[in-house]
Amino acid sequence: MPEPVITVRNLKKHFSVYKKEPGLLGSVRSLLRREYETVAAVDDISFSIKQGEVVGFIGQNGAGKTTTLKMLAGLLYPTSGEVSVLGFNPWNRENAFQKQFSLVLGQKNQLWWDLPAMETFLLNQAIYDIPNPRFRKTLNKLVDLLDVKDSIQIQVRKLSLGQRMKCELIAALLHNPKVLFLDEPTIGLDVIMQKTLRDFISEYNKEYNATIILTSHYMDDVKELCERVIMIDHGKKIYDGLLSSIINKYARNKILSVVFAAPVSKNDLKKFGTIKHLTGSSATLLVSRKDATKIAARLLESLPVQDLNIEEAPLEAIIREVFGNRAKIA
């Protein structure tokens, strides 16, 4: 049984924020008398993660995902609680710790804006003290995998978002980190680029047995990469377990996509389930999860079915369901 690489116990981060009324009068008032409010960005979270696991952090905006990652990376000082990453207290920012992890923030970059990405790679080689042969080998491999050979010599400001994000990942991985914190790594990218990055992250995890925590609003990222998910809402952990378990528990319906040999009527179809879409000879039906197989069999017997697919409901819908039922699972 491998030892946990990341251990978090009763972690809290509270921010003190002041409230200001709008307008000039509000500004003057706030100068004389300020009302402060304590916001619990992370509120008593505990979990542990083993080496090689890829864990998805799921939550709505402001749920506390990024704040948790920043505390795990040692950027933020916790209000209370304990954090251990690779046996280090991140807040101490020891060199030995910082050489073993990376934090990639999708909306910010570490690349020098006015210089080619290669300059940042060379700076990182010096900072992380990477021997030249290892640096060249890793760099060539990452450049080939992400197909950015032609981009690394061009000023970062002139690169597309997708190219920049790929270079960002290379800068973060040159020192072969054992732990990777990825905060929205695919944000703003088109679907093809998202898929490329997902495949790359999966490959990196397998090759280096790296421990990865991923936050993403794109459920495809979570579905493809994470077996386990931790769900956070208003700073509190509301679920920690297998993604498949939460799908089984909260997905009440399945989707039947059917193509018929000849057009069918609405009346013929509605007895099988809720019609979501019907155009001529193709239809989508929402059916009860537990009866999906039986209904599919009945459809095949009763109607001229040419093709039939049984699909899970979109993960986004399931997650919405979970957050809607927060009180029940907390």
Binding site: F15, L75, L76, K108
Partner: protein, 240 residues
Amino acid sequence: MWRFRQFLSSLMSLTVWSVLFTSQTNVFGYNRAEMISYIFMAAILHGLVLASALYGLAERIYSGDISSLLLKPVSLFSYLAIEEVADKGRNILATLIESGILIALFQPEIVLPSAYTTVVFLLWAAGGVILNFLFSLLFGTLGFWSPDTWGPKFLFFIFLDFSAGKLFPLNILPDWLQSALFLTPFPYLTFMQTQVFLGKVAIDKILIHSSALLLWIVLFYLLNKFLWHWGFKNYAAQGQ
């Protein structure tokens, strides 16, 4: 443009003082050669001591830009110190070129110090560089708490130009004002360095002023240590 402003400032000072010395041989205890040497030295020390790459540090902290540095296995202060040294190198080079132009224009007689005075001057100049670096770091900590750093910085620079002797030598001021200024660290940034260069500091006072400079450095080091530690605990890594 910033360098051009510095060049114009030195050009104006030299012109004004040259005009004043056409009718007098001694103004406020300075002869022409001493005053011209003072202006040249003040300009060089401005490039060496007061010019800093860290004036935008507070904004970098408030906006969260320093996060990427904090995540790397490198000391933030070493990194900032290297940035500062690089910036000073660039400024000194520019100041030397500007001084060459001014020397060609005014063909001044410059007072040169003895070997002993030169050593003290260089040590004090190094002390001034360290003191200004600590000042800049201290100003940077404002970014941990407030986005409004421009106002305090502007007032500070106005006061700095006056109190560090950039505009005129401090010893032309009334005694009570000089005494008050010497209760602050500002005269130890550039003014005392110009005085030692011109041989206007008595040998028996050198140890006292050296101790005062060292004391200010230690005090600002400790103040920085406390404020940065406190600041990091408040750091919100915004925008990141």
